[in-house]
Homo-oligomer: 151 residues x 2
DNA sequence: GACTATTCTTAGCCTGTGCTAATATCCAGC
DNA sequence: GCTGGATATTAGCACAGGCTAAGAATAGTC
């Protein structure tokens, strides 16, 4: 009682709801690729460092159980990013490798950028991990410009 | 065959797996609060603009169905951020209002910061939406410093 | 070559976040 | 005060991404 101001009337939708909706939709679709990006980056790292990527190592680094890793790898395989045979270690497809390189490069840029802003190393590392998946090419380019300008 | 380099041997775990695991865990826990933050921000906006927040309007702005909104509101209520009576519009608790204010303030800062870097308005808006939930206080402070310095 | 510890898989469960279809309620206009 | 259209709820489904418990395969050791 008192809460019904304009029931049943369409509030004109002044500002484009479409636009707002789109940005939220993009945020949602980003989420789908985030985990994939983290995994391919990590798989690539592990292969470079230890010669192979095993589920148990991925699990340790990600802080999840091996079972979760195995299920996620199945999705990566389905999406054409990784391959693996039962009881064998995990590899990236060419598509997966390419993604890994892009992700690492972007991660590096974001991290350096945050450091250049004066963010403490620890916070910068944590934040880079969180925001790297939401950076558009335009923003990435702007960060690179800023780094060059302040080099 | 050839993929088994050091099976069964613990690869020393040179760099702290703990640390890596923690950052991923934080990313995951952030996800839980992201939606909540988007909702309270939007609810607050709608109340300010139209006098009330209705599920149908939230749905339009978020690009999801009313059913999805209703279910999410249930979680917000469970978490003490919002209130609503059946067939009535949605309100924020004091806790929810406080969160909304913080979120809006942070959003504004991130958006202005991106604009100041020279990111086009459209990309800045999209990216701000994506990254605002992953910005630590330290990084937010750095953005404010940068804005003040370049004002 | 068999034993044991490690690793991987399978089965089954939960929560969050999305959907459609069907139903109930509300508000405005006649 | 009925009724039609808008809005909200309920029921039921799907998928992602987590988990534990139990069993199967592997690799290194004796």
């Amino acid at each position: 009682m008192s809460a019904r101001v304009a029931r049943g009337r369409k509030p004109a939708s002044r500002r484009s709801d479409e636009q707002s909706a789109h940005s939220h939709q993009r945020t949602r679709s980003d989420h789908a690729s985030e985990l994939a990006e983290d995994y391919v980056e990590l798989i690539d790292d592990l292969i470079a460092e230890t010669g192979e990527a095993r589920a148990v190592d991925l699990a340790r680094r990600l802080g999840v159980t091996q079972v979760t890793v195995t299920k996620t790898i199945e999705r990566l395989k389905r999406d054409g990013l990784a391959t693996s045979e039962p009881y064998r270690s995990i590899f990236l497809t060419p598509k997966g490798s390419k993604l890994a390189v892009e992700v690492r490069e972007r991660h590096k840029t974001v991290l350096e950028f945050l450091r250049s802003l004066g963010v403490p190393a620890k916070d910068a590392e944590l934040d880079a991990e969180g925001i790297e998946h939401h950076i558009s090419p335009a923003t990435l380019a702007a960060m690179r410009r800023h780094l060059r300008a302040n080099a």
